[in-house]
């Protein structure tokens, strides 16, 4: 087997490391923007992708596999990883797709088909009505499932066309507004009505199948999200009991078996008050946060994917041990509306600790490209218990230095140190409901900046920075990139 990794950044680097360890030859591909990117250095061969679509160009990826003699394709996450068409095209070209079959992707990757499949397996789904044409339909549906309800666009997601309706008197207005929004966003004004579950946790189960049998490898709690982007993930979930855990794992494995699931996937659930759980959706691919499960099970999920693709056996599900927490280091500024921040990586220094894992897609001297998503690295800490993992992750983040682009480093530490997180009171709405004031720069850092700016440009920075700290200057006008003062949210 020779594997082409149809991806970039930290996930491509992570897959190459396992392929090297397994002695499997590998091929990296890159778009025009990614010439010289770090993931290329971990592969045995490199191929350039023509065209403007880069990693989304299935034909170019298959051509690169042919040209390099690759026999298999690992899609990573994002890009074409959940495209049943791409999986089918790989198979038609005689390439092994390291992922689910196109049939399983169609069944479980489609929201409505997967909800039906879950119901047929006896898995609870969020009570609701499929399409409501009129507000009278919606009122009847809401009376049936119980108020409050969520109106959701039938034609798409991402929060557009979504309205929380607390009581019947508010429904007409919300229905009209949601219809307008859904129509504008998806050219499809149809709405669904769903029971509103709050406070809710997002808990997902890692599954692994070989096309016949399937195992559930434990759950991850990913409730801390911002605009549907996960920020901190952990396993096991601090918010569910043994009975809920067993139900989640059993349900996920049953759904995987029913779909004759092959390779790695994730079944997502919402867990409401009292531990009631509801099926959300299936991600038919390797997930960004899969290292959380790897850290507590000791299993290499990518290696298992490769073994399964070669016709090997499904590994046993090891008993989880200890606790793992992952933080996503993003190139974005939490205190300026989470503006993304591309640019050169001028200085980069990661901590080395036996209990820390760092999956990074950048290196010093490289850059964060504006063409792709803002994930710089995932930092994952293992501890004997949750509190130890939390402290280790916070320490690891404090020992991380990245200069050249704004990052969410300080925000991640703030979240990890908050009482909310210490107590495990993590719900899907928590991050957005909480104010996260911008931490002040230490006076010594401001003084060092002033000294460096006073030195002639090009002079060795820091030479003169080892003096006493200057007076605190919290109203310093220097904090914006253009020196005009920093805005507070």
């Amino acid at each position: 087997m020779k594997v082409l990794v149809a991806n970039r950044g930290e996930i491509a680097a992570r897959v190459f490391k396992t392929l090297r360890e397994m002695g499997v030859p590998s091929v990296a591909v890159h778009s025009a923007a990614d010439r010289g990117a770090p993931h290329l250095d971990l592969a045995d061969e490199v191929a350039a992708l023509g065209g403007a679509d880069g990693y989304l160009d299935g034909a170019a990826l298959i051509a690169a596999a042919r040209a390099t003699g690759a026999t298999a394709v690992h899609p990573g996450y994002g890009f074409l990883s959940q495209s049943a068409e791409f999986a089918a095209a790989c198979e038609a070209a005689g390439l092994i797709f390291i992922g689910p079959t196109p049939e399983a992707m169609r069944l479980l990757g489609d929201k409505r088909a997967s909800r039906r499949a879950a119901e047929e397996c006896g898995i609870p789904v969020i009570p609701g009505a499929n399409v409501c044409e009129t507000n009278d339909d919606a009122t009847r549906a809401a009376d049936r499932v119980g108020w409050p309800v969520l109106l959701k666009a039938a034609g798409g997601g991402g929060g557009k066309g979504m309205r929380l309706v607390e009581r019947e008197a508010d429904l007409d207005e919300a229905f009209a507004a949601a219809q307008r929004e859904a129509g504008a966003a998806f050219s499809d004004p149809r709405l669904l009505v769903e029971k509103y579950i709050a406070p809710a946790r997002h808990v997902e189960v890692q599954i692994l199948g070989d096309g016949r049998e399937a195992v559930a490898l434990g759950e991850r709690e990913c409730s801390l999200q911002r605009r549907y982007q996960k920020v901190i993930e952990e396993g096991p979930s601090p918010g569910i009991g043994a009975a809920t855990r067993r139900a989640l794992l059993d349900d996920a494995a049953r759904l995987a078996r029913r779909a004759a699931y092959r390779s790695a996937g994730t079944v997502e659930f919402l867990v409401g008050p009292g531990g009631a759980h509801y099926f959300l959706e299936v991600n038919t691919r390797l997930q960004v946060e899969h290292p959380v499960t790897e850290m507590i099970t000791g299993l290499d999920i990518v290696a298992a994917q490769v073994d399964i693709a070669r016709g090997g056996a499904l590994p046993d599900a090891p008993a989880p041990r200890g606790h793992a927490i992952e933080a996503r280091l993003n190139a974005e500024d939490p205190h300026r509306g989470f503006l993304p921040s591309a640019g050169p990586v001028l200085m980069l220094d990661w901590p080395a600790r036996p209990w820390l894992r760092i999956d990074a897609g950048v290196r010093e001297g490289g850059e964060v490209r504006p063409e792709y998503d803002p994930l710089i690295a995932k930092i994952i800490a293992w501890g004997g218990d949750r509190e130890q993992a939390r402290r280790r992750l916070a320490e690891g983040l404090r020992a991380t230095t990245l200069l050249g682009v704004a990052t969410n480093l300080a925000f991640l530490i703030q979240v990890l140190e908050s009482d909310m997180f210490r107590r495990g009171e993590t719900y899907t709405a928590t991050l957005e409901k909480t104010a996260w004031p911008e931490p002040e720069a230490p006076a010594a850092a401001i003084a060092a900046a002033r000294r460096a700016l006073a030195a002639p440009a090009g002079a060795a920075a820091g030479d003169d920075a080892a003096g006493a700290a200057g007076p605190s200057d919290r109203h310093s006008p220097w904090a914006m990139p253009d020196g005009t003062g920093r805005l507070r949210p």
Binding site: G158, P370, G404, A457, A461, W478, P481
Partner: protein, 156 residues
């Protein structure tokens, strides 16, 4: 480009300092920030053009104005695109577009000046407040940028 150790509140603190052409990056345990040079008096003078700068590195996907165009506060000037998100930069104040420093399709760096807006001729004598010309300009650009962030995609 190195670490230095300084005294801070009685403890040793490790700082990382990198000087760039535009300013200096300083990192400390748990944070980092870019510091630009302090602005001179000239830029803050009343009647000086307001400069709208790039709030992030990205591609200019649309330039909505041309030199000589009169604009009022919050008029769309241009749209920036980065990391699957779109940002609308709007006029920080009423005036006339004096100069545009970028073109559609061009990549611009964080902090780069994109548009200069001169006060409307009639308005010049009225501009008496010592409010910095550049401060509000960036404030407006940033404020305008925030709603654009709603477009963030839903990856896992």
């Amino acid at each position: 480009m190195s670490f230095v150790h300084v005294e801070h509140e009685g403890r040793r603190l490790r700082l990382a300092v990198v000087r760039t052409a535009r300013g200096v990056w300083v990192g400390w345990p748990g944070g980092a920030r870019f510091f630009g040079p302090e602005r001179g008096e000239a830029a803050a003078a009343p009647g000086a053009p307001a400069e709208v700068r790039a709030p992030m590195t990205g591609r200019v996907v649309k330039v909505a104005v041309e030199p000589g165009r009169a604009v009022v506060t919050d008029d769309l000037l241009l749209i920036l695109h980065a990391m699957k998100m779109e940002y609308r930069l709007t006029a920080p104040r009423d005036g006339v577009v004096e100069r545009i420093f970028c073109a559609e399709g061009e990549m611009v760096d964080l902090g780069a000046t994109l548009v200069a807006i001169a006060p409307a001729p009639a308005a010049v004598p009225a501009v008496a407040a010592p409010a910095t010309a550049a401060g509000p300009a960036t404030a407006a650009a940033t404020r305008a940028a925030v709603p654009g962030a709603e477009g963030g995609g839903g990856a896992a």
